[in-house]
């Protein structure tokens, strides 16, 4: 049993990182994740680590690249506009197969958007920046999960030499809950035989290059395809009362907490509602959705705080075998940035559909 | 009497002529239209007797084509 404290989701990023032995943070101020940067600024020097506030998100992503490429765990955190700025470098990570953990505490987009919660970076996180690469994308919905998923992101990122993206939102980031600080052991990892640690007269040189200069393009792309197929075995999801459900809610992040309430409320009224919550947005739990869609009379309601992003992946999984509906940002209870998709509204939609 | 000599690797040489231009003893030159298999005009050590083995041609060569030798002088017998 680890130490139990009271923390908010943003602080849990820090606790997760140090639990994973990560002592280096490179970041930049942006709402709503400033508590992350500030946590690292005060905690890392105490632990012999280094905190660097860089000059832009593009630069801090490159600092992360240098540090991770040298075989040392490092992390950064950002939100929408900063996330956009990092994309060129993140594509470089993918090409060079350098691991790295990036936390995106989503805010309303596009553009400068709002400084409050949203889920407008789902497609960007799962499809990546230019070049069409794939990354591990994890979707925590609690303070504990942020701490645990940051650690899982380090593990999977290094296991497969891909990016490990933790996609949360401002509500999960700023809510406070009990947190058990514990190092999670996910298994052994291969030695970093590619890391630029200096030759020391003991080994030949290592060159990390973000492009097809040494390996031919098609060979490299074919290897990526094999890697992405292997990564399908890392699918994780949570299924709440899905087996006998006639309507399955599909949600991640804060809307998934809302939908947990909706399942309870609906069941109290005798409605057979369940929730399928992807924990890995990539690889996406397509198989379990496809299987459920094959049951007669099943319907899906995708609840996400955007104009329709995860619904694309649900539709690809369901392949037309069952109706797939959407409840998005326009269902918020207020027209401002602080509006939320609340349980009553979701239940109202459930009743229309079931 | 030559104090040194150079070799020019024709597979690396790209005919830029810096060795010709910067040799303090003017002993490297483009002779005729001597061409390498890569299609570059390549120079030769045209006046080997004047080579001092100073190696300026070596480190001014951008293409890693030159090796430089110094002849070991016989000790003077007393």
């Amino acid at each position: 049993m680890g130490e139990r404290i009271w923390a908010n989701g943003n602080q849990a990023v820090g606790w997760g990182a140090v639990s994973a032995g990560c002592l280096h943070f490179f970041g930049y101020p942006i709402t709503p994740q400033n508590e992350v940067t500030e946590w690292f600024a005060s905690e890392l020097p105490k632990r012999g680590g280094s905190f660097c506030q860089g000059e832009s998100e593009w630069s801090v992503a490159a600092m992360l690249f240098g540090c991770s490429g040298a075989g040392v765990r490092a992390i950064t955190s950002t939100s929408g506009p900063g996330w956009g700025l990092m994309q060129e470098v993140l594509s470089g990570f993918a090409a060079a197969e350098v691991p790295g953990v990036i936390v995106n505490i989503q805010r309303g987009g596009p553009g400068q958007g709002t400084t409050l919660h949203a889920q407008t970076d789902y497609l960007s996180a799962t499809r990546g920046g230019h070049g069409g690469y794939k990354s591990i994308v994890l979707a925590p919905n609690s303070v504990q999960e942020i701490c645990d998923f940051v650690q899982l992101a380090f593990y999977l990122s290094e296991k497969y030499r891909v990016l490990g993206i933790v996609l949360a939102d401002a509500i999960i980031g700023q809510m406070a809950e009990p947190l058990e600080i514990k190092t999670r052991d996910f298994g052994p990892l291969p030695e970093k035989t590619w890391a630029t640690t200096t030759m020391q007269g003991k080994r030949p040189l290592r060159q990390i290059m973000p492009g097809w200069v040494i390996k031919p393009y098609v060979t490299g792309m074919a290897e990526f395809q094999k890697k992405y197929e292997k990564m399908q075995s890392e699918v994780k999801y949570e299924a709440i009362q899905v087996d006998d459900a006639e309507l399955v809610l599909v949600a991640f992040g804060y809307p998934s907490r809302v939908c947990m309430d909706v399942v309870e409320m609906a069941r109290e009224e005798g409605l057979k509602v369940g929730l399928l919550r992807p924990l890995t947005l990539w690889p996406f739990p397509a198989e379990v959705l496809h299987k459920k869609a094959s049951q007669k009379g099943v319907k899906f309601l995708v609840v996400e705080d955007n104009l329709g992003q995860m619904i694309d992946d649900v539709n690809l999984a369901v392949l037309g075998k069952a109706p797939v509906h959407h409840l998005g940002v326009t269902a918020r209870h207020l027209p401002t940035g602080s509006g939320m998709i609340l349980p009553a509204r979701v239940l109202e939609e459930v009743k229309k559909l079931i | 009497m030559a104090k040194g000599e150079i070799t020019i690797n024709e597979m690396m040489c790209q005919g830029c002529g810096f060795c010709v231009q910067y040799c303090p003893s003017n002993c490297v030159a483009f002779v005729g239209e001597k061409m390498s298999a890569r299609g570059y005009l390549v120079p030769t050590l045209a006046k080997p007797e004047d080579c001092t083995g100073c190696a300026i041609c070596g480190w001014m060569c951008p293409h890693m084509a030159i090796e430089v030798y110094k002849f070991q002088q016989e000790p003077v017998k007393k």
Partner: protein
Amino acid sequence: MNKEKVYSLPKYRIAYPGLLCPGCGHGIMANLMAIVLEEMDLGEKTVHVGGMGCTGYVTFTLKVDSTSVTHGTGPAIATGIKRGLNGKPFVFTYQGDGDAIAIGAGALVNAAARGEKITVIMANNANYGTTGGQMAPTTLIGQKTTTTPLGRDPELHGYPQRAAELIAQIEGTCYSARGSTHNPANVTKTKKMLKAAFQKQLDGEGFSFLEVLTACPTDWKKTPAESQKWIEEVMMPVYPLGEFKNISRKK
């Protein structure tokens, strides 16, 4: 008569043929960097950060651990490596002028401001060479490039950027200088500057910067010999050589 080899491929260079154009100044700098790494016993302790462009080809031919990610990020990558490995490795970049002072200006200026204990080397050849010869921050007034076909006009294209002087202004910089590769005497002077810049990092003084004038015969549309002359006659009046800052805070 016995002969002794006095110069051959430097220990820290790899002989890949044909990566640079004939007479390319980067080739001379690559020799110099490899020779200085050997003379200062740094090769085994180095992580080198390459630039994006022809400077990247130089990185290929250096026999040390190296990395790069995107155009302009060199000083930021170097920051990550130096801090991640707790200040132990020797970290230096070799970047082009566009890489360092156009797209990478933010990274360069801020790495200097933070006094990062790294060394940045910027090759100034007054254009973007790899992509066919477009205007760079260092293109001279009146110089014709593919994006200034009528010659650089300050009204339309602004003025040339003097990186060494700019970086010397920054408090975190402890060394900033400009050298040239247009003849052996200047290459020898540049070698001294390179050693001075590297020594600042070894002494833990702070950020060191060296700008070097290098020929780009292909895009200048000149012969190698004409290019070296152009550096001396046309570039040097705009980009004077010398040390602009050389301070020690520790001694």
